[in-house]
């Protein structure tokens, strides 16, 4: 009986030791990390060097998948450049628009809440299937865009989704339309700038443009940096708009890397080849992120240097 009580107490004491408590609380995270991230991560690395169609066991083929990727699969390079172009055009436009609108909205009026809602709602819905289907109809041959152009007396016979020159632009427009969340992040950063900075600059006779470049822009560079990385990573992984709106057509001008990867892995059951493609994408994204990080010391300003 007495022994029991001692044991109970020591168990309780042990359970309350910080080293035990800590691991009890983060146990869900550790389990999830191992099962859903670490194991798949290494499985994927292994599969990249195999031929695997899910039904029969994976067969080690060395670098064959990578050889096929770089030298045989023309669509690999096509999809790579399409995605690159998509990111290169969409990210700067989206960042500029979201920063501009955030600047405009940082001046609070009675209607600001409504404006903010109108700009933000599209980014809440943007990734849904409904919006992708809607975009397809907006840019259809007899859709709104052409009809409005016609009303304005402009040429209204553009096949937006059928023309290799414009199809990617339609998908980019859908991406830019969803600038709302990065706008909100900018807005929060702009509002965090102490008002005294601007007041002092006004006393010194600085106009709004001067104040933007001398105060606002430097102060929000950490957020600009964050948004830039976020959007580059997001653009490289784009999938829905191409898969749902164009299916990669016309002439593969909208075939995103992610869509090509999906087709290979899940329509042709080339899981090994798909894994190799995924790893190549991971390396490209890592390289870009590293590049942005390296460059950041030159243009990102932290108030407390040495952070």
């Amino acid at each position: 009986m007495a022994k029991h009580a001692v044991q109970g107490r020591s168990l309780r004491e042990r359970m309350n030791h910080p080293n035990v408590v800590g691991y009890v609380f983060i146990l869900p995270f550790i389990t999830g990390l191992l099962v859903f991230t670490v194991i798949p991560f290494f499985t994927s690395l292994y599969l990249a060097f195999t031929e695997y169609n899910i039904l029969s066991p994976a067969k080690w083929v060395g670098l064959k998948n990578f050889h096929k990727m770089f030298f045989e699969d023309k669509l690999f390079w096509t999809s790579f450049w399409v995605t690159f172009k998509f990111a290169l055009i969409q990210v700067p436009i989206k960042l500029t628009v979201s920063l501009l609108v955030a600047l405009i909205l940082s001046k609070t009026t009675r209607l600001t809440g409504y404006y903010r809602a109108a700009f933000y709602i599209p980014s809440l819905m943007g990734s849904s299937v409904a919006i992708a289907l809607l975009w397809k109809q907006l840019f259809a041959f007899n859709g709104v865009i052409n009809q409005v152009l016609g009303l304005l007396g402009l040429p209204d016979n553009q096949r937006w989704l059928g023309d290799p020159k414009t199809a990617l632009g339609v998908l980019i427009s859908l991406g830019v339309w969803q600038f709302g969340s990065s706008m909100l992040i900018f807005l929060a950063a702009i509002k965090n700038i102490p008002a005294s900075f601007h007041e002092a600059a006004i006393v010194d006779g600085a106009g709004p443009v001067r104040r933007f470049f001398a105060i606002t822009l430097p102060m929000i560079t950490p957020i600009l940096f964050f948004n830039l990385i976020n959007q580059v990573i997001g653009s490289f992984q784009a999938f829905n708009s191409s898969y749902l709106i164009t299916g990669g057509k016309p002439l593969n001008t909208t075939l995103y890397y992610g869509v090509h990867l999906y087709n290979r892995a899940f329509n042709h059951y080339e899981m090994g080849y798909g894994s190799a493609m995924a790893w190549f994408m991971l390396l490209v994204i890592a390289a870009f992120t590293a590049l942005i990080f390296r460059s950041s010391s030159a243009w990102v300003y932290y108030e407390s240097e040495g952070r």
Partner: protein, 283 residues
């Protein structure tokens, strides 16, 4: 003089609002057009695409669309989506809160290591995980069930854990100490003190998770293979493919599929804005 500047200001403000209203209208015009088209007869949708007012408004698309396809109505698909999204939101909220407390309040050996692991895996592109996760779930016999779309939420996610951690950090540590002196264990402190105080961040996390899950197309594309299990996102795509010429019905079901997002927006706007804005803080 003073009067002149006042008038000038008035004019400037009016120009500002006119421009902003036009811009706002432009932003939500596609949505308005979708709603308008869902009430137009099929013959009218594209012949009178540039106007928002239907000549002869009809609600027939909602009844024909609701019938769905393959013998399953959209009621069925909505139930599936609600089930998946609510379960994911609950799991995400609970697990992320528990883990966030561990990271934010307990000093244990290895804490820094696991925290760094969390931040690093946050940056890992999801598509690298797509194939191996499918392989894993296939081995476990989970393909064709809702499990791959719900179970991972029960293990938290880096972003949400981080969001709740930020919130816990604003709670004075003296509260924990006082409770500890009163004899509360760390578990009781979490349950009795911290949990009630972090409810706003839990709402943010569950709302963001619900919406992500509601709109998730990729998960359904990979894991659902029987029509009676389709979620709204996937059913909408299949419905569109199967009823190519019935644009009105697709628009009607599209509108309905966005209703939950709109409802959430109107009720939880503050939490959403808060959640998105704190995303930037981690940078």
């Amino acid at each position: 003089m003073a009067r002149n500047t006042k008038v000038q200001r008035r004019i400037n403000l009016t120009i500002y609002h006119v421009l902003m209203l036009l811009l706002s209208l432009l932003m939500i015009y596609p949505l308005l057009w979708m709603v308008a088209s869902s009430f137009k007869p099929n013959g009218e949708i594209f012949t009178r695409a540039s106007t928002l007012i239907p000549l002869s408004p009809t609600s027939e698309h909602y009844t024909t669309g609701w019938r769905g396809f393959g013998g399953y109505t959209f009621g069925n698909f909505f139930a599936n989506s609600l089930f998946v999204a609510i379960l994911s939101a609950l799991g995400m909220m609970l697990s992320s809160a528990i883990v966030a407390y561990g990271f934010a309040r307990i000093r244990f050996r290895g804490r820094q290591f696991w925290f760094t692991a969390m931040i690093v895996t946050m940056m890992l592109p999801g598509q690298v995980m797509m194939i191996p996760r499918f392989v894993l779930f296939n081995k476990m016999g989970w393909v064709g069930t809702f499990l791959p779309m719900t179970v991972p939420a029960f293990f938290g996610s880096g972003f949400n854990i981080f969001l709740i951690m930020q919130f816990i950090r604003t709670i004075p540590f003296e509260l924990d100490e006082a409770a500890s002196i009163d004899g509360c264990s760390r578990y009781a402190i979490f349950y009795r003190i911290i949990l009630p105080l972090i409810v706003p961040s839990l709402v943010t996390v569950s709302v963001l998770t619900f919406m992500g899950s509601w709109e998730d197309f990729m998960g359904a594309l990979l894991y659902l293979n029987k029509p009676h299990m389709y979620t709204v996102a996937y059913a909408l795509k299949m419905f569109n493919d199967s009823s190519q010429s019935d644009y009105g019905a697709t628009f009607a079901m599209s509108v309905l599929s966005l209703v939950p997002i709109l409802i959430i927006f109107f009720f939880f706007q503050e939490q959403l804005v808060e959640g998105i804005s704190t995303q930037g803080l981690k940078g």
